[in-house]
Symmetry: C2
DNA sequence: AACCAATTATTGGTCAACCAATTTTTGGCT
DNA sequence: AGCCAAAAATTGGTTGACCAATAATTGGTT
C-alpha cells in the first residue's frame, strides 16, 4: 500500500469547529426554533450529550463557554438555565459568539489602539504613586533592552499593561490583557517594529508617563495616539481593503 | 437537630476560586519559580492532575483557559507548551487572568461607554446599507416597546450591537458583546433606566443613526456620548469612591 | 557501530462511571 | 383525600478508563 497512495493521503478531514462550538450551534437552533425559551431549563447534560451524540465533556465545555458570555447559568444539583433575555437578542448573541475569532489582526490592532487611548486618559486621571513606580520600572526594562540593541516587544507590552492597571478599571485592563498576546504575535510576525521605531518609543513612553504624572488626561491620550499611530497605519492598510461598503 | 442549630448552619465553606483557578495559580508558581520556562513543555495532564491532587478535567479546564488568553498552546498527541514570552510578562499576565472578574459594574459600564464611543465613530465611517437597515430595524423594535410602555432594555442593547457590527471590526464587536449581558443585568437590577430616560433614548437612537447615515463620525460619537452619559454618571458615583489615589 | 523496522510507552482527545446533594416519586398512615 | 417520611431517580461535580496518534525504545540486521 505504498505505490497507489496518492498525494491526497495527507489530507485529513479537519474539523473546522471543535465539538463544543458545534454544540453551541445546536443549542442556538434549539433557541431559534422555540424549543428552548428564555429562562427555561436545559435538558440535563446526559440527555444533551446523548441527543447530540457526543460525550458529556463537550456538552459541559459548551455550557461553560456560554456561561462565560452570560447566556447560561448553571446551578449545581439543579440544572442549567437559559438567560432571561428575549429570543431575538439571545439568538443574535449566540451567533456572534460562534464566529468570534482572534485571527483578524487588523481588527485587533485597531481595537487595541482605541482601548489604549482611553487607557492612557483614565490612567492620567487616576494613577497612584504605585502606578507611577511600576510604569517607570517597565520603561526602564524597555530602555535597557533597547540600549543593548535587543528586541523589546514584551517589555513594550508590559508598559502598556501597567498603564492599563493605573486606570483602576478592571474591565479595560482585562481587555488589553486579552489582546496582548495577539499583539505581540503580530508585531513579531510582521516585524512592524523596526529598530528606529523602537528607539522613538523610548521618548514616547516617557512622554506618556510625564502626562500621566501630570494628570494631563488629554496629553496622555495624545501621546499614546502618537505612540501607536505607526503600527495602526501599517495594519490599517490591509484592513481597509475589505471594509468600505462591504455588503455581506 | 433543630433547636441547637444556629445561624451559622447556612454558611457553607464556599471556595472562592474554582479548582481551575487554583491550578492556574499553581502553574503560575511553576513559572515564577523557574521550574517552567517560556517555550517549555508542560508535564502531561495526568502528571499535573496527580501532582495537584485533582482530576484531569480541572487541569484541562485550566489549560483551556490559559490557552484562550494565549499563554499556552496545546498540540494533540504532543503536549502543552508555554508561550514563548518572557517570564516577567508571563507572570504578570497569569496574575491578572486569575483576578479577572466581571462583577465590577462600575468598571463594566465605564469600559462600555468608551467602547461604544469608538463603535459609533467607526460605524459612521464604515457602515454599509445593510447595517443601516439592521440598525433601523432595531430602532423600530425599541420604539414599539416604548410606545406600549414596556421595558426595552434588550432592544436597546440590540441597537448597540448592530452599531458595533457596522464597525466591521470583529474585536470591538466581540468586546461589546461580552459586556452586553452584564450591562443588561446592571440596568435591570439598578433600574437605572427610568421611563423618561427610555423615552429620551428614542430620539437619541435616531440621532446616532442619522450621524451614521451621514458618515459623520464625530457627530455619531457625540450622539453616543449624550446617549450614554446619564447611565455612566449614575455608575461613576459608586466608582469614584474607591479610585482616587488608591494605594494597594 | 549504524541503521531501520517492530514494539512499547506516552500524549491529548473522548467517553463512561461514580459521588453527593437535591428533587421527585412512592407508599403507608391518619 | 391529605400528609409525611422513606426510597428512588435525577442533577451537576468529579474522577478514572479507554482511544487513536505520536514519540521513544528496543532489538535484530548489515
Amino acid at each position: 500500500m505504498d505505490t497507489v497512495t496518492g498525494i491526497f493521503d495527507n489530507i485529513k478531514a479537519i474539523q473546522i469547529d471543535n465539538p463544543a462550538d458545534k454544540i453551541i450551534a445546536q443549542l442556538k437552533q434549539l433557541v431559534t426554533s422555540g424549543q428552548l425559551k428564555p429562562g427555561d431549563r436545559l435538558p440535563s447534560e446526559r440527555v444533551l450529550s446523548e441527543r447530540f451524540g457526543v460525550g458529556r465533556s463537550y456538552v459541559r465545555e459548551a455550557i461553560m463557554k456560554l456561561e462565560f458570555y452570560g447566556l447560561l447559568k448553571t446551578s449545581p444539583q439543579s440544572g442549567t438555565y437559559v438567560a432571561g433575555y428575549g429570543i431575538k437578542i439571545l439568538d443574535s448573541m449566540i451567533s456572534d459568539i460562534i464566529k468570534i475569532n482572534k485571527n483578524d489582526f487588523g481588527a485587533l490592532i485597531e481595537a487595541r489602539y482605541y482601548m489604549e487611548l482611553n487607557s492612557a486618559k483614565l490612567a492620567a486621571e487616576r494613577r497612584s504613586e504605585t502606578d507611577i513606580r511600576e510604569i517607570k520600572s517597565a520603561i526602564n526594562d524597555y530602555n535597557e533592552k533597547i540600549d543593548k540593541d535587543l528586541e523589546a516587544v514584551e517589555e513594550d507590552m508590559l508598559f502598556h499593561i501597567k498603564v492599563a492597571k493605573a486606570t483602576k478599571n478592571s474591565a479595560i485592563e482585562s481587555m488589553i490583557l486579552i489582546l496582548a498576546p495577539d499583539i505581540i504575535r503580530y508585531k513579531i510576525e510582521t516585524d512592524v517594529c523596526k529598530r528606529d521605531l523602537e528607539k522613538m518609543a523610548v521618548q514616547q513612553h516617557q512622554d506618556i508617563l510625564d502626562a500621566i504624572i501630570a494628570r494631563d488626561a488629554k496629553g496622555a491620550q495624545k501621546a499614546m495616539a502618537t505612540h501607536l499611530a505607526k503600527i495602526l497605519d501599517a495594519s490599517t492598510k490591509h484592513f481597509l481593503n475589505n471594509t468600505d461598503e462591504l455588503e455581506y
